[in-house]
């Protein structure tokens, strides 16, 4: 059959070009692959969910608890369909798998990105793929947030409300943007169909296109080579080909990973819609976004309530905290490849300890996001007595500056330690070698 296909489609050229691509063998190179598998699992489970989900926020009678004829118990159709999915055999599992995979996809992407950053793999010629990767991260988060809203329980409703008001806080155009994005004044009659369109058509389409570009560039430019490749065969590509050595490794990894997700889903529930109930005016205490957006939430919690008019636009703390600061943080991440001025193409993955400043800045940046994420727990910190209403903001703002700075210097100290150990080893080896010569 191969012959038959080859005669017509010349697939052997494909084979030479793509399927023999050499994959370096190192565990840190599997992080990107885990992200890719997550996307595939999300698409498969998402299609299954879409078969039973009803994208509408019109009110329907709750068939599980219909109420009486003159006082029927009305709930949004989307919420009702989430209840029905939960009641169906394996339905709750399906939702949990979809939700857990979404979390793991973002986590894998973040760690993958850390690997790329710390080993310098973003340097010339791979800048474009760093930027595509950033876009993938942003769009994954957007996809997950829109997915969050779909069950349309009280939790989703409150989340959507906050998202709407963040969009509306953009000066000058905010109100228009928010209404255009979410089908009219909150909560518009068409808001769920709108978010559904984003979640299952627009955003996955963008994600797939970006993923395709990411993979093609990776194949064209090749991975950075791990250090051991330098010793094995200098300036040669070392690794196992996609067909057939890498494929079984990938398959095993996928199955193992799928197994872990199913285990997680079986034991740890996510987003229990029955517990939160349909949208209502009763707020949810200490509502939190998913972990990867907690830092934005933390900024909002500690930013003082400022507001001023600028050229006819209203600039408020919500805009500064939820749009301006995150844009700056993301902008800094986009700028990373431009800070490297070398003209040489990078061939080998670098040892992070040989680039202590880059390592230190990366760690400090992560600590900054961590401090802000902790700030997202401000109400809990206050009610547990660790902080008080009066000092919470001050303490958290000091931590915002102090902890990243301290971790920067801590990293420098550790790197110096590692280096002097390495040099001592080196000296030992040379003296031993000298003795052996005698």
């Amino acid at each position: 059959m191969n012959q038959w296909l080859d005669d017509r489609l010349h697939i052997s050229r494909l084979n030479d070009k793509f399927l023999r691509k050499a994959f370096p063998v190192h565990h840190s190179f599997f992080l990107g692959e885990i992200t890719l598998f997550s996307l595939i699992i999300l698409i498969l489970t998402g299609i299954l969910l879409a078969l039973s989900y009803e994208p509408s926020n019109s009110m329907v009678v709750n068939s599980f608890d219909p109420g009486t004829a003159d006082a029927p118990n009305l709930v949004p159709a989307a919420y009702h369909s989430a209840l029905k999915i939960n009641a169906a055999p394996f339905g709750d599992m399906l939702r949990r798998i979809h939700h857990w995979t979404a979390n793991i996809m973002v986590a894998a992407a973040v760690i993958h990105m850390m690997r790329v950053y710390f080993t310098g793999a973003f340097k010339k010629p791979r800048e474009i793929n760093w930027w595509i990767g950033m876009l993938l991260l942003i769009f994954s988060a957007l996809t997950a947030v829109t997915g969050y809203v779909l069950p349309y329980d009280n939790y989703a409703y409150n989340t959507l409300k906050v998202i709407y008001s963040i969009a509306a806080s953009i000066p000058w155009v905010g109100e228009w943007v928010a209404q255009a994005a979410f089908a009219g004044k909150f909560p518009g009659d068409g808001v769920i169909p709108r978010v559904y369109g984003y979640h299952i058509m627009l955003l996955p389409g963008i994600l797939l296109a970006l993923t395709g570009a990411h993979m093609l560039l990776m194949i064209k430019q090749k991975h950075t080579q791990p250090q051991y490749a330098k010793r094995v065969a200098y300036k040669k590509i070392v690794g196992v080909p996609l067909m057939t050595q890498q494929t079984p490794i990938m398959l095993m990894l996928t199955l193992l990973f799928a197994g872990i997700i199913v285990l997680f889903s079986a034991f740890i529930p996510v987003h229990p819609v029955e517990y939160f109930g349909p949208p209502s005016t009763t707020p949810i205490d200490n509502i939190k976004p998913d972990w990867y957006l907690l830092w934005v939430f933390g900024v909002l919690a500690i930013i003082p309530g400022i507001e001023f008019d600028f050229l006819g636009g209203n600039i408020n703390s919500e805009f500064i905290g939820a749009i301006l600061l995150p844009t700056l943080a993301i902008g800094a991440m986009f700028a990373v490849p431009m800070l490297d001025r070398s003209r040489e193409n990078l061939y080998y993955a670098e040892n992070p300890t040989n680039h202590p400043v880059r390592l230190g800045i990366g760690v400090a940046f992560m600590m900054l996001l961590a401090v802000w994420s902790v700030a997202g727990y401000k109400p809990e910190l206050i009610s547990s007595g660790i902080l008080s209403t009066e000092n919470a903001n001050t303490v958290l703002w000091i931590a915002t500056f102090l902890i990243p700075a301290l971790s920067y210097f801590f990293v420098q100290a550790v790197v110096r330690g590692i280096r002097s150990l390495r040099e001592a080893d080196e000296r030992d080896r040379t003296t031993h070698a000298a003795h052996a010569d005698d």
Binding site: N158, K161, V162, Q179, T282, D285, A301, G305, S383
Partner: protein, 222 residues
């Protein structure tokens, strides 16, 4: 030898094609932008979406009692949420919950505890006070504080308000106090005495738009 020198055309072919393609792409692109307009549906101000109006009765918002008029005896220093209930164009009762920002917070404090900047004229005997229950920060529904009795706390980013003092901000990111709603007593019932005294969320930083809305409401009712 050559009699005729070859004249360069004023514009090269390449340039012509580039300009032509650029123009079509720009015109086409801009025309597609107009499709974005359809993303933003027309807003119709129906009775259930109007803000609380003079004469509206305050009714319970809590699920189990929704729509029942609120009596003085139902109120205490614990927050009670209410909807304004008015009439639609056919004169039937309509709870104005089509706009969730119409949710109200009611408190009743012992005489003398409610002080300025609360507008005491707009309370019932200086004891019962009504505010918009929507946080001026990002529009979450504000609750009683779990730490200090007699204060309010927003569950979203811990904005804090003092309901005895005109719901001024005493902590967190909200930029403005909660808007106070003037109320009066009418027999057993609590009745709205007029529009919010200051623009409520989401008009809290856009006075002009709030005035527009009030005008639109008055035109619709006239």
């Amino acid at each position: 030898m050559t009699r005729y020198k070859r004249q360069d055309p004023e514009i090269t072919r390449r340039k012509f094609i580039n300009v032509a393609m650029g123009t079509t792409a720009a015109v086409g692109g801009v025309s597609l932008l107009s499709a974005l307009g359809s993303a933003n549906p027309v807003f119709r101000l129906t009775a259930d979406k109007m803000p609380p109006l003079e004469g509206d009765i305050l009714v319970h918002a809590e699920e189990s009692k929704e729509g029942r008029p609120i009596a003085l005896a139902d109120l205490s220093d614990q927050l009670v949420r209410a909807w304004p209930m008015g009439k639609d164009e056919n004169g039937a009762d309509v709870i104005r919950k089509g706009d969730p920002n119409n949710i109200l917070a009611l408190y009743r404090f012992p005489a003398g505890e409610i002080v300025a900047p609360t507008n005491l004229e707009a309370t019932v005997d200086g004891q019962v006070v009504a505010y918009s229950d929507v946080c001026t920060h990002a529009g979450c529904s504000v609750s009683d504080s779990d730490i200090n009795a007699g204060e309010m706390r927003c569950p979203c980013h811990s904005g804090q308000f003092a309901p005895k003092r005109g719901a001024v901000v005493i902590g967190g990111p909200p930029p403005k106090p909660l808007a106070q709603l003037p109320i009066r007593q009418d027999g057993e019932r609590l009745v709205v005495a007029g529009f919010f005294l200051t623009p409520p969320y989401p008009y809290h930083n856009n006075e002009a738009e709030w005035d527009n809305l009030k005008q639109e409401v008055e035109e619709a009712l006239a």
